[in-house]
Symmetry: C2
Subunit: 225 residues, 2 copies
DNA sequence: AACTGACCAATTTGGTACTCGGGTCAGTAT
DNA sequence: ATACTGACCCGAGTACCAAATTGGTCAGTT
């Protein structure tokens, strides 16, 4: 319970003022605990706020899992990337993380133990994702490190171009659709996928997501009611 | 003559030490002229170095024009983007500009009169590029602002991902090939293009490029004597 | 055993003196 | 007259120090 309250306070202050301007004492008072208590759960300010980002990512992942269980077609790359893009842009912290907004996160993006773990988990999950898709004939290429890179590169631009002037004229969904079009053509076979393949792939990915979700949750401090 | 020498000195110092660490006086002495002379050609330090970047861009564009005249297939999006990617990564200044290396360029990227002109010219050229391609049946979509955005987004990621750790394992050409694959599938028709269409499109684009090249050259100070 | 907040060291901040470098222009050279 | 120069000006940035703040600890309280 207490750890979650501390994370709540930290998340609120982080989104409002940014990493640099928030003190650990403020977080503690915001959560109604003493400063020392914070250090019973996390070894440093940096790790505390990294945990905030991790929890945010876990929630996003959980939402995506739900979406995929509701509609298995969400497992397809163009749908998955579209959904992820919109979800990230809708969350202040995730957006700051992906667009590299250092005004909000300071140097939090670079190097924290849990940050590195998160990056590794994400990479591994992406690899598994591509393997699953390929296993059900939903990919137009062989999986591998290069394909992972190619997908990352194709998607990354959408986030990086976020701030630039004349891209603001388009709505968020228009940009999401653009990303979906690019991803579908560049990574999926031309012909429509077989419904059974989609269903099975979604089921496989649900397991992968659950696994990563468990891993992320485990990295957050254990609740001690 | 003199303006070119000043640009030479400025370019050399810029690539070696970065915008912040180079003084106008150094540039002047490097070019063998007085500091005041520099201000006969450019109104400010910022515009001087913006001109360095503009000249670099003009050279790159000129090279690309040559490449396209040698092999008209270079007009195709996947070839054009691949070539551009490699050319930019090969030039320290262009690379710094596109990967957002503020250590080298400082705040030079943001807002300088000629910088804005360059961005506008680039946008317009991209639009014309897409129109030309479409006119010869080499595009799978209708041109327009959204398609321009989609292409930018698809390409931008390759530059933005440059610094990140585990992308270094791949060679530059492997990354360029990855970009080419994505672009070809996402923007070009599935069937191979007709040689005549390619030849004609290349001829059209040669004109567009020459026009932009002339514009860029005109923005550089007029040579006297 | 869980938690706290006074305490310490280290970093950050605020203020000040001073250097340095962008930009100007009276003057020199041609 | 024209092309060019470099000494000069002044504001932005740097260096520096004292004061304030804050990340992190731990003896002590609940």
């Amino acid at each position: 319970m207490k750890a979650a309250h501390i994370l709540d306070a930290a998340e609120d202050l982080l989104t409002r003022y940014g990493y640099r301007r928030v003190t650990v004492d403020e977080v503690a008072r915001g959560a109604g605990v003493g400063k020392g208590t914070v250090y019973l759960y996390w070894p440093s300010k940096r790790e505390l706020f990294a945990a905030v980002l991790t929890r945010d990512a876990a929630r996003l992942l959980s939402d995506q899992l739900t979406a995929m269980l509701t509609d298995p077609a969400e497992v397809l790359p163009h749908r998955s990337m579209r959904w992820t893009y919109l979800a990230i842009m809708d969350r202040p912290l995730a957006k700051a993380l992906y667009t590299g907004d250092s005004a909000l996160l300071g140097d939090l993006t670079t190097a924290s133990r849990s940050g590195a773990l998160f990056a590794a988990g994400k990479r591994e999950t992406t690899d598994r994702y591509l393997s699953v898709l390929h296993g059900h004939g939903l990919l137009s290429d062989e999986p591998g490190a290069l394909l992972s890179y190619r997908l990352s590169a194709a998607v990354a631009g959408s986030f990086h171009l976020d701030g630039t002037p004349d891209t603001a004229e388009f709505g968020l969904t228009a940009k999401a659709d653009a990303l979906a079009t690019t991803v579908r053509r560049a990574f999926e076979p031309a012909e429509d996928p077989a419904p059974a393949a989609v269903r099975d792939a979604a089921a496989d990915m649900a397991d992968v997501y659950r696994q990563w979700l468990a891993e992320l949750t485990r990295s957050l401090p254990r609740e001690q009611s």
